[in-house]
């Protein structure tokens, strides 16, 4: 969920950015200020531009019961003003200085960023440091912004059958853990959030020791250090950060199926998601084996899915597999396919199951592993061209309990994965009891 719509939703950026490779050898420096704020610097001197980001280790999964959506509402309200910069001056100042800005909220973190010419870095640091501690809200600014968020929900979720289905799939996936509620919040709860709810969340989580500063671009680590100490250094932690202990999922004992009919659906689609551990809980080799499994099953035209579903059996022109474990507590392994006109969901699902069963029982080949590994490394190399994506890669890792070394050693770890590792990943992951299948169909049936 973002302040406004301009960039790709963060989930796609993260999926596209599986990780960087040794061929790139990213130049990254990290240090911590005396108040506990972590700083990461990624120099890129190609243009006189910097990307400045502050990530808070607080997201929707950190909300109190009944306050679904408050993390994201606060993200919007952070632009409303402080005594030093009241009435939406933040955006006006950034713009008058030729800057781009936005913000986004996920289950585990909330991030704010600006892209500016390098000489404006002190200015955006001053603004961002100011609103970390001095946010001032009134009902006059909160209520219209809450209405904006309700419109955002209507636009992204309620107007989109696939958005509604995904929300229901998450709710079905998590029995106890808060990942089951949407980041943007449920309509009945969001529409009742108050100024005080937002201020409570702000007071509990927005502290220097709960924040990560990332600066990428035309700067040196020394320059950033001097500026960070000047602007963020004086901020004091006001209270201890609440421990992030969320309810653990009970053992998954039954597979779930969510079917939705909607007259706005043009053609049927099918997907399944499996619950997995999160990156920080997995040894690097196991984690990368899962990424490679997704690539082998559903990445590109050489994958098992495409070869069978699109080419040999002509059942589904679109299909794929993905793995995203860049969250604090759980990850997801997903597969999907859209039946060709005239093909039934049942026919596609049966074939998908046959392919998955074949992978589990017979395993993958060395040739598949090598090809998929090459594809992943190539994608990572192209990431080097994007300052913004590199900055996000480190932000996501650090905000979800991973380390800079986890990111930097990505290619070294990837090289160690064997066929046995991938086969083990397939046997562990593809457990139907830990899955939710989602089916979206045209026609009446509720809404």
């Amino acid at each position: 969920m973002m302040l406004f719509k301009r960039l790709m939703p963060v989930v796609f950026a993260v999926l596209a950015a599986a990780g960087p490779a040794r061929a790139l050898d990213i130049d990254v420096t990290s240090f911590t200020l005396a108040n506990g704020m972590q700083v990461v610097v990624i120099p890129d001197h190609r243009a006189p531009v910097v990307t400045h980001m502050v990530w808070y280790k607080a997201g929707a999964a950190d909300e109190e019961q009944g306050k679904a959506g408050v993390a994201h509402l606060l993200e919007h309200l952070m632009f409303k003003g402080t005594p030093a910069h009241p009435d939406g001056d933040f955006s006006r100042i950034v713009r008058a200085n030729g800057g781009d800005e936005n913000a986004f909220t996920t289950q585990d973190y909330t991030a704010y960023f600006q892209r500016v010419m390098k000489d404006r870095l002190p200015l955006v640091m001053e603004l961002e440091a100011d609103r970390m501690q001095n946010l001032e809200l009134t009902d006059e600014t909160v209520l219209p912004e809450r209405a904006v968020v309700l419109e955002e929900r209507r636009q992204r979720t309620d107007n989109e059958p696939s958005g509604l289905l995904n929300e229901q799939m998450d709710a079905a996936m998590y029995t106890a853990h808060p990942y089951g509620k949407p980041v943007i919040g449920w309509m009945p709860q969001v529409s009742k959030l108050t100024r005080q709810d937002a201020m409570d969340f702000y007071a509990a989580h927005y502290e220097p020791e709960n924040a990560i500063l990332i600066v990428a671009g035309d700067v040196t680590p020394d320059e950033v250090k001097t500026l960070a100490e000047r602007y963020y250094g004086p901020l004091k932690n006001k209270r201890p950060i609440p421990e992030r202990v969320r309810a653990e999922e009970p053992p998954p004992n039954a597979e779930r199926r969510v079917t939705m009919h909607d007259p706005r659906v043009s053609s049927p689609s099918w997907q399944r998601q499996y619950l997995t551990p999160a990156a920080r809980q997995l040894p690097a080799r196991d984690e990368l084996a899962m990424s490679l499994l997704a690539e082998i099953i559903g990445g590109g035209n050489q994958s098992r899915f495409y070869q069978t579903l699109a080419i040999d059996k002509k059942l589904a022109a679109y299909s794929g597999a993905w793995f995203d474990d860049d969250q604090l507590d759980y990850g997801t392994f997903g597969v999907y396919a859209s039946p060709n006109p005239g093909v039934t969901i049942e026919a596609v699902e049966a074939e998908v199951d046959a392919i998955l069963n074949d992978v589990v029982s017979k395993g993958v080949t060395q040739e598949e592993l090598d090809r998929s590994r090459n594809n992943m490394i190539a994608s990572a190399v192209y990431l080097l061209d994007s300052q913004d994506k590199l900055a996000r890669l480190f932000g996501v890792a650090l905000a979800t309990g991973q380390t800079i070394d986890d990111v930097k050693n990505w290619d070294k770890n990837l090289a160690t994965v064997t066929v046995d590792d991938v086969n083990k990943a397939a046997r562990t992951l593809l457990n139907r009891n830990a899955s939710v299948t989602g089916v979206l169909l045209p026609g009446e049936g509720g809404q």
């Binding site: 006189p48 800057g99 892209r115 219209p144 671009g217 002509k314 090459n374 190399v381």
Partner: protein, 439 residues
């Protein structure tokens, strides 16, 4: 003029000066031994190269009953070429790890190519094969047809696509611009390999080729690469009648497409100016203040910030080759559709009458000039910008002159453009949803 024997260079240096830095990048105009021109920015910091290129004549030239053939072509370019069948081509491409994609716009058909430095020559060989002799075999053709049929069905239901499509049909009835770029179920169902060959022959020609290259390659190396990739394309496109200037309809007009959903999508706008209009820059500054995508525009301030009626509202100039349009979109719950649209009209009316304040103009200038460098912060972004400048005939020194042109815009000029281009009384409006109170 004698045929150049060596790669020719024209060099223009560009400087983004700011208080703390004066970094520069240089655009070189490279002419290959074979006479193919490209704009090049060398950037050796990372071992990658990006090349964006385009040909004139996009979807607007799709033959009647074959709408969507240009887009179909974009999906067939990596499905086999020369003696290589689809699977073999794709295996080789993946082994070399290069990226190749195509996009069919209304006026231009664009290609983009990214390669690792170490595989550059082998990747370029494959790109050349793909764009010179694509195969269009029956198996991939039928497979890709299924994908495009799903696309068409998807667009039929997507509220924003529906609203824009209906709006285009209202403002440009009968013009090729207002046909569906992705085609219809009937037209996609009817496309044959011969149609694809004809579209390929029509589009891929050296006479309308424009190229921008950014990355780890020197001017000396680029010349032969251009000849390798593009040298065997035909010199000229087949003769075909030029399309006449597009004739926009005049509003007011309101069309409501009923759909059962909680939010209405409202598209609204009028005709406007083309990129070569002498007052384009003042008009652009004018439109930035009224309806840029940011939170600080006048429309956003009134409709989003003050009243919370929408997640986003924008209104912007869209200069195309045969006419310009000035249009925007907002989404709001059905109950406030009329209120939000009326507000948009009111904001436009007041702005047309009074224009911006001096402060608004000054802020817009500092934003537009200060943020220009942000458009050039990656290889692929620079390549994209440089190709756009060539398509618009703006000249290799435009990047250098652009901020001065923006700074020279006066308040009177902006006021004149607001009066000239804003017509809230005769908007063409299309709404998808169950709107209340729209008129």
């Amino acid at each position: 003029m004698p045929k150049p024997l060596h790669t020719l260079l024209l060099v223009v240096g560009l400087f983004f000066a700011s208080a703390a830095s004066a970094n520069a990048f240089t655009i070189q105009e490279v002419t290959s031994p074979g006479g193919i021109k490209a704009w090049l920015v060398e950037e050796h910091a990372i071992p990658l190269m990006a090349m964006n290129y385009s040909f004139r004549g996009g979807t607007e030239y799709d033959p009647p009953a074959k709408e969507g053939v240009s887009e179909f072509l974009t999906g067939m370019m990596d499905e086999g070429a020369g003696d290589m069948l689809s699977a073999e081509f794709q295996k080789k491409r993946d082994a070399l790890a290069f990226r190749m994609s195509f996009d069919a716009g209304s006026d231009f058909f664009e290609g983009s190519f990214q390669t690792l430095s170490r595989n550059r020559d082998a990747s370029a060989d494959l790109l050349k094969l793909a764009i010179t002799s694509p195969r269009f075999d029956a198996e991939p053709l039928e497979r890709v047809r299924q994908q495009f049929l799903l696309n068409v069905k998807d667009k039929d239901q997507d509220p924003e696509s529906l609203a824009w499509q209906a709006w285009m049909e209202d403002i440009l009835p009968g013009d090729p611009y207002s046909r569906r770029d992705e085609g219809t179920e009937a037209s996609i169902g009817a496309i044959t390999a011969d149609d694809l060959h004809a579209a390929h022959r029509r589009i891929f020609n050296r006479d309308t080729l424009q190229v921008a290259v950014v990355g780890d390659i020197s001017a000396k190396e680029l010349g032969p690469l251009l000849d390798k990739v593009f040298g065997d394309l035909p010199a000229k496109a087949p003769e075909q009648a030029q399309l006449p200037a597009a004739k926009p309809a005049m509003g007011p007009k309101l069309q409501v497409i009923k759909r059962d959903m909680p939010q209405s999508v409202i598209v609204f706008g009028t005709e406007a100016i083309e990129r070569d209009d002498p007052d384009f820059i003042p008009a652009y500054v004018m439109s930035e203040i009224l309806g840029s995508g940011s939170l600080t525009s006048r429309l956003s301030e009134e409709i989003r910030e003050k009243r919370g009626l929408t997640y986003g509202v924008s209104y912007g100039l869209n200069p195309m080759t045969r006419l310009g349009l000035y249009a925007g979109v907002l989404q709001t719950k059905n109950a406030t559709a009329g209120e939000a649209l009326d507000l948009a009209r009111e904001v436009m009316k007041k702005y047309a009458e009074d224009g911006p304040t001096q402060k608004e103009l000054d802020d817009a200038k500092t934003f537009l000039t200060g943020s220009y460098a942000l458009r050039f912060s990656s290889n692929s972004a620079i390549a994209n910008q440089l190709l756009g400048l060539q398509q618009q005939n703006l000249g290799i020194d435009y990047v250098q002159k652009r901020n001065a042109m923006v700074n020279a815009v006066t308040l009177d000029q902006v006021k004149a453009q607001a009066k000239r281009l804003l017509h809230p009384d005769r908007l063409i409006v299309t709404v998808v949803g169950k709107p209340e109170g729209v008129k």
